[in-house]
């Protein structure tokens, strides 16, 4: 009975605690982008008035922009603006940064999502089998893949992949999201080309989009796979050493059922956190991959803005990627706590 009351008491407190942590983390992220924006050696006033303006004009604009307010007031104003969705104007595209980001984000989402699907579809079974045959070849393969995931630069693997599968074998499409002559032929609905072209029934565009996305998504998926397989393996090993597994074996339950029904079922909730973590990691990893594959997503937008010293765009993209990253991580953690009774204790 005591446990029961504790649980009902703990729920709202835990939820409040979770929201508070999330808010503080977002505020920290905002503080970092704000401070970075402040230390940049580009004078924001000069950018507005030009270098021929008189001292009076300069001062007037400086006051108007609120740059003589205390730092904390400026920060509050910044937070307020961001909460309204105002990330400033991009110098290089001439549009609002928020509008730009809304346009490029689906491309990144599509690639990272396909990547995580590949990573889970291959990584989880691989980890389960590795645990079932500990020390056998699947186990060794996972070890090697895990090491490779730590040691190989993603951008380099992307380039090597392009040379092998695009230039030599001609198995996949080259850089970009779709063949040039099909560009703009698919009416944008969700912004995800695979889905949009399928809805439209334009299978030629679908095939082209698939041939372009498959290589970068597989490379991203490879890095997720390494982590997912390793974690699945260690969770499974923990389960397989439990007594209920021995009991099941003694009762003569087939090994396949023991693996998937008895051992795997209690760990899928733990895997949510792992998958969430890798998904967030893929969003981050896509920055490099997008640059290599000229993929018009948020990573490419960020690196282009970096090279153009387009600070509003850089900070806006950093903020969005950071917020999504934090959101997915904390969200999957909360989901796990909600679903798994063991985590509540």
């Amino acid at each position: 009975m005591k446990r029961e009351t504790e649980l009902t008491l703990n729920r709202p407190i835990a939820a409040l605690n979770f929201l508070l942590t999330l808010a503080v983390t977002f505020l920290g992220l905002l503080a970092i982008t704000f401070l970075i924006g402040r230390v940049v050696p580009i004078d924001p006033v000069l950018a507005v008035v030009g270098d021929r303006a008189s001292t009076e004009t300069y001062e007037a604009v400086r006051l108007q922009m609120g740059l003589d307010d205390p730092l904390i007031v400026q920060f509050a104003r910044y937070v307020w603006q961001v909460m309204q969705g105002d990330l400033g104007m991009s110098v290089s595209t001439g549009r609002a940064v928020s509008e730009d980001l809304g346009r490029v984000f689906p491309a990144t989402l599509e690639m990272a999502t396909l990547g995580i699907i590949i990573g889970v579809a291959i990584g989880v079974p691989m980890g389960v089998f590795a645990a079932a045959r500990q020390g056998k070849w699947v186990d060794q393969v996972i070890r090697v893949i895990g090491l490779a995931g730590y040691a190989i630069p993603a951008f380099w693997l992307g380039l090597v992949g392009l040379v092998i599968f695009y230039a030599n074998l001609r198995w996949v499409g080259g850089p970009g999201r779709i063949d040039l002559f099909l560009d703009g032929m698919v009416p944008p609905r969700s912004g995800l080309l695979l889905i949009d072209s399928a809805i439209d029934g334009n299978w030629e565009a679908f095939r082209s989009a698939l041939s372009h996305i498959i290589l970068p998504a597989t490379i991203l998926g490879f890095f997720a796979l390494a982590y997912i397989a390793r974690m699945t393996r260690s969770f499974m090993l923990e389960q397989l050493s439990q007594e209920f597994i021995t009991t099941a074996r003694v009762k003569g339950v087939p090994e396949r059922l023991i693996l998937w029904r008895h051992a795997f079922r209690p760990i899928w909730m733990q895997l949510i956190t792992v998958i969430g973590l890798s998904y967030a990691g893929l969003l981050e990893g896509s920055v490099m991959i997008e640059t290599v594959f000229s993929w018009p997503g948020i990573g490419n937008y960020l690196t282009t803005a970096l090279l153009n010293a387009d600070m509003n765009a850089v900070l806006g993209a950093t903020l969005v990627i950071g917020a999504v990253f934090v959101g997915i991580n904390k969200g999957s953690d909360a989901l796990y706590r909600l679903l798994d009774p063991r985590a509540r204790a």
Binding site: L147, P153, R230, V287, T303
Partner: protein, 300 residues
């Protein structure tokens, strides 16, 4: 006279004998792990190549012969030449210096910073702990690469700024580890004893708390080296790290990108160097963890 028995003695007569004995045991345990030995060999090779680069490199890393541009690998140029006719092997050899410098500088900046924050938080507890760890957790939950990119954007491209940016994103892990370690012994009697002798908090933290957190921090730093190398190479690849004509491996891959379809070796060769060196740190770090920190082994 140093003998095996003297080193492994159960009751060492001096502090030095105990230390040497401990080091000997550690080295023996490490050498029994073949993968760790491979890792160690790669790291030693990196050190030697960096040290003797001018003698090892067959050509200049900066000066090239334009007549020899984009030559495929051959007997005269083992890894071919780049778009300015520079020998790629020589550039990779000199690049070892840059990689080693980046890794060492990041470790020297980030590890002590994290160690200090973690030990102070763990030792004092209470509000100090809450504030410092709150800060650490914020940094820890942000994407490292993106943050490094944003910092470099603010500081301006260049190898020094890349080092600073990577270090800023690297310290929170060490702070967390050091704090966890401190919590296991902060109530120990030996600390009470030092306190009663009148030692200041600063003295206790630096001389009595920090040394006990060293081994787990060292393990973590070694394991992080591969990630640091990859991040630095990534910054170089994006043109935000080392600037031309410095032979930094990531920047070399970036230059070779334009010729990747016809002259594959220009971008591919430096990548192999990155993979080998990162792998070396991974393997050695794994081995070191098994020896110094057996608790974490089961989780790996």
């Amino acid at each position: 006279m140093i003998t095996r028995d003297w080193l492994l003695s159960d009751d060492p007569e001096t502090r030095m004998q105990a230390r040497l004995g401990q080091g000997y045991r550690l080295a023996r345990a490490l050498l029994r792990n073949p993968l760790a030995v491979v890792g160690l060999a790669i790291i030693l090779l990196l050190l030697l190549v960096a040290m003797f680069a001018p003698w090892l490199a067959p050509y200049s890393p900066i000066q090239g012969e334009l007549a020899n541009r984009l030559q495929p690998p051959s007997a005269t140029h083992w890894m071919g030449t780049d778009e300015l006719g520079r020998d790629i092997l020589s550039r990779i050899i000199f690049g070892a210096r840059i990689t080693l410098m980046i890794v060492l500088l990041v470790a020297i900046i980030a590890a002590p910073l994290g160690l200090l924050i973690g030990t102070v938080a763990g030792y004092f507890g209470g509000w100090v702990d809450r504030i410092l760890m709150g800060l650490t957790d914020i940094f820890l939950s942000l994407p490292r690469l993106i943050m490094a990119l944003a910092f470099v954007a603010a500081l301006g491209p260049g190898i020094e700024n890349a080092v600073i940016a990577i270090a800023i994103t690297a310290w929170p892990v060490y702070a967390r580890i050091a704090r966890a370690e401190v919590l296991t012994f902060r109530k120990s009697e030996f600390l009470d004893a030092v306190r009663m002798q009148g030692a200041s908090s600063a003295r206790i933290i630096t001389l009595h708390v920090m040394p006990l957190c060293m081994s787990s921090t060292i393990v973590r730093v070694t394991l992080d080296m591969a990630g640091i190398i990859l991040t630095a190479a990534g910054l170089g690849f994006l043109g935000l790290g080392a600037q031309p004509p410095l032979p930094e491996w990531g920047a070399m891959i970036s230059r070779g990108r334009s010729f990747i379809l016809d002259q594959w070796w220009v971008a591919t060769m430096p990548g192999f160097a990155i993979v080998v060196v990162s792998l070396g740190f991974c393997l050695f770090g794994d081995g070191l963890r098994d020896v110094l920190d057996p608790k974490q082994r089961a989780r790996g």
